[in-house]
């Protein structure tokens, strides 16, 4: 049953989706935007949860304000914004949506833009499932939406352009950050020069990055480079974090282990794009570990290989909120062009400044990527007893035994149940693939992934059931 039709349906109300909504409406499209969270703004511009009323925007931070601006712009433009609404399935441009507590419904759109963002790269090491170990994004969500600090003695371990952002933000909320471990090298003079060269016109990005480091230095938070967490220890909760120096492949160097007492360990080794919907839609992908793994193939208007489905933002390879905003706009212009709401000339003209900015950011991003390339050692920390699939409690040893005769993730999954739990492999699938790659040789990207299936989010049967759908009755028998 189809009960609504839009020119453009946008999945994801982060910077990419919000910017796209405003742009598309201004080009004359009827737009509906859905986000499964109770508030819009996505990961970075996450707004305080219901129950918090912001009286002094400046006090809650620049990110709140920028997020509010994007949301207001989309609202003012007249886009239909639906919070607490998940996209569960997609086929062509038909999308199944469900609002929390309501029944699922199917909507038709002439164009669909998928802007689902990214999630933290899960890293498996002994102790990663202990209470008190959380992802950087999880910690950030806690602070931003609940105004709750995750612990009293916080160790942060991570890498990448945002690695310093998390602890700096936590400091900003008054958290006690004991130690920051960055797996990459300390930025050298040459890196800084390279960044500066690439950063022309990207001053806001550079200002952010420099600002985070300055904040940590000013607050005297110890900042140690080329070190990663190798395990977390404690009785029923993190009590100590063990860390070590690593070589350029991120493999721990023997004899360099140290311990630090902590009740909280935040882990942020980069992000994975959330690709479930794009995979379900049937889009083509290429593989780029530095962009977070599978990266959807797009053309110059950010159209995927599936007709009338485009993609923007971190869900297409992690690139940050500035890129996400411009990509969202560009995808909206592409949709307007395809729906003939804009002439080719008009679309090209409006896209020109976006393209210029995106090109500059791409240069900046490439420079950053060189600095923060993920080392394969990150996948080799688990010991045989380490639980890899936490939903089904499957250990690395079990996975290794099951990969004896096969290099197929799906076979290992079926032999062990790993990846079949509530999270459907979101957390463990890459680690399983890495186990296979390690044993059989070959790269992570060359391994087949588990088949994409609806629903992309767990959903109550009561919300899904549709008694109007007839089963075919009897099974036909040829006489």
């Amino acid at each position: 049953m189809t009960d609504a039709t839009y020119d453009l349906l946008i999945v994801g109300g982060g910077p990419a989706g919000l910017a796209a909504a405003a742009e598309a409406v201004s080009a004359g499209l009827a737009v509906c935007l859905v986000d499964e969270r109770p508030t819009f703004g996505g990961q970075i511009f996450k707004q305080p949860g219901p129950g918090f009323r912001v009286t002094d925007p400046a006090a809650v931070g620049r990110e709140y304000v920028r997020g509010r601006e994007l949301i207001d712009a989309a609202e003012r433009a007249g886009a239909l914004l639906l919070p607490r609404t998940s996209a569960l399935a997609i086929r062509g441009t038909t999308v199944v949506l469900v609002e929390d507590g309501a029944n699922a419904r199917t909507v038709e759109a002439r164009q669909v833009l998928i802007a689902p963002g990214a999630h933290d790269r899960p890293v498996v090491f002994p102790g990663w499932t202990l209470p008190g170990v959380l992802t950087a994004g999880g910690a950030q969500t806690l602070v931003k939406t609940q105004r709750v600090l995750p612990g009293e003695r916080i160790v942060f371990a991570g890498s990448g352009p945002l690695a310093l952002a998390f602890p700096a933000q936590l400091r900003g909320y008054g958290a006690n950050v004991e130690l920051v471990l960055e797996a990459g090298p300390a930025p050298g003079v040459r890196d800084v020069l390279r960044l500066l060269a690439a950063a022309r016109g990207n001053t806001s990005l550079l200002r952010d990055a420099v600002g985070y480091r300055a904040r940590l230095l000013r607050d005297r938070v110890p900042l140690r480079y080329r070190r990663i967490v190798v395990r977390a220890e404690g009785e029923g909760r993190v009590e100590e974090v063990v860390h070590a120096s690593v070589d350029t492949a991120w493999r721990p160097i023997p004899g360099t282990e140290e311990r630090v007492a902590a009740d909280t360990l935040c882990v942020g080794y980069g992000f994975f794009p959330s690709v479930e919907l794009l995979r379900l839609a049937g889009c083509d992908f290429v593989y780029d570990e530095d962009l977070g793994g599978p990266v959807v193939v797009r053309d110059e208007w950010l159209r995927t290989t599936v007709p009338n489905v485009s993609a923007a933002g971190d869900g297409t390879g992690v690139a940050g909120s500035y890129v996400a905003i411009d990509e969202g706009r560009l995808a909206a212009l592409g949709a307007a062009l395809d729906l003939e709401a804009l002439t080719a000339d008009a679309a090209v003209a409006r896209a020109a400044p976006l393209r210029r900015r995106l090109a500059r950011k791409e240069a900046f991003r490439r420079a950053l990527r060189r600095m923060y390339a993920v080392g394969p050692g990150i996948y080799e920390l688990a010991t045989p007893e380490t639980v890899v699939c936490r939903c089904e409690e499957i250990t690395a040893g079990t996975l290794d035994a099951a990969s004896e005769g096969t290099d197929d993730v799906n076979v290992v999954k079926s032999l062990t149940r790993a990846g079949m739990g509530l999270c459907q492999g979101r957390n463990c699938q890459r680690q399983i693939a890495a186990t296979l790659a390690l044993r059989h040789g070959g790269s992570l990207g060359s391994l087949p992934v588990a088949t994409a299936r609806p629903p992309v989010r767990p959903v109550p049967i009561g919300a899904v059931a549709d008694a109007s759908l007839e089963d075919g009755g009897f099974f036909t028998v040829e006489s």
Binding site: L88, A89, R91, V96, A104, T106, V387, E392, E393, I394, T395, G397, T398, D400, A401, A402, E404, G405, T406, D408, N410, V411, S414, L415, T416, R417, M420, G421, L422, Q424, T451, R453, P454, P455, P458, V459, P460, I461, G462, V464, A465, D466, A467, L469, E470, D471, G472, F474, F475, T476, V477, E478
Partner: protein
Amino acid sequence: MRAEPAPAWPFARELRAPLPESTDVLIIGGGLAGTALAYYLARAGVECVLVERAELNREASGTNAGSFHFQIALHQLTALETGNVRERLQTEVRLHAEAAEVWKTLERELAGSLEIHITGGLMVAETPDEFRLLHEKRELEEEAGLETHVLEGEELRAFAPYLADDLLGATWCPDEGHANPMLAAPLFAARAAEAGAELRTHAEVTRVEVDPDGGARRFAVTTAAVRVHAHRVVNATGAWANEVCGLVGLRLPIRAEGLHLNVTEPRERVLEPMVQHIGRRLTLKQATNGTFIIGGGWPANPEPAPARFSTTWESTAGNVAVAVRVLPLLADVKIVRTWSGVMAFTADLAPLVGESARLPGFHTLIATTGFTLSPLLAQLLAEELATGRGTIPPQYSIDRDPAGQPTTT
């Protein structure tokens, strides 16, 4: 949930080893049918090689719902009556009763867990016509030697208080239950290898040559660019059986169909029996890990190979609607995934097992409810291959359908 001991699959090391040059029985297909046959043959001392084009247990046998179908079910009927197919049903129920005995001892036989739950099965009725059918089929089942009972209204509510309270009744079959399809074929494969069978993956059969004068090695089967000479061949390729039959100019009365399944988050155990519906497509059970598995024959969409058939939202929403109608507590249980598998439906729904009279030495092993029946049918076929004498019902002859008669090569 449990921490698993590492499963040991030492045989897996051999799966990619070079193929032997010749064998007595060459089995094509590494699903439950093929692996069970390899086990029973090897145990009887018959030399055999199994070749699988991809990985073991990745098609119907590893993706099915794991139900033991012993009662007469919707997929065996053509209308809300049994009269028109009485004789066929009798034969099948007799076979089911035998299959029930096999499953009861299978874990002991294979020395490993298959997560078998023989918890009984209920088949519910919503309408007066359906309810009448329950009585009809129970009689038939009794005659064929399968124990079932009809539970009416209040009785059913006392017996299974968790079911919807307006159901008219159900039949209860104490022998029914379910097992874990992800364990069955792999365990058969492991035990087959231990008993001396050779199993090979990534060995697709692309050519079968027959030399009528070839004596003890009359078949030359080409797989993965290697030729294996075999005395006898068994086609156990399920939904793809006609592709292999086509290689020798035979055609079977079967069609391939994609089916849809749903699984939920785990919940505390509430549902012991397996539940089916006599008039609507439903099978419902709670697996060992507490998840509910919901199926019953809803369709999945064909996709061009090698992609797996896609699951549709219509099948998801329609299938779970029947489930929650019967078991209302499912309303707030979350569905986490759907998947599909492709299986062979034989034209008259009965198995196709044994040797072709048209092409001596060429056998098939195919059943519609092949999870339930493959261990038993493999046993029967192994017995025939090992001793030359068998007890396979003549109704299952692979030459039985006129439309299925071979063309000549």
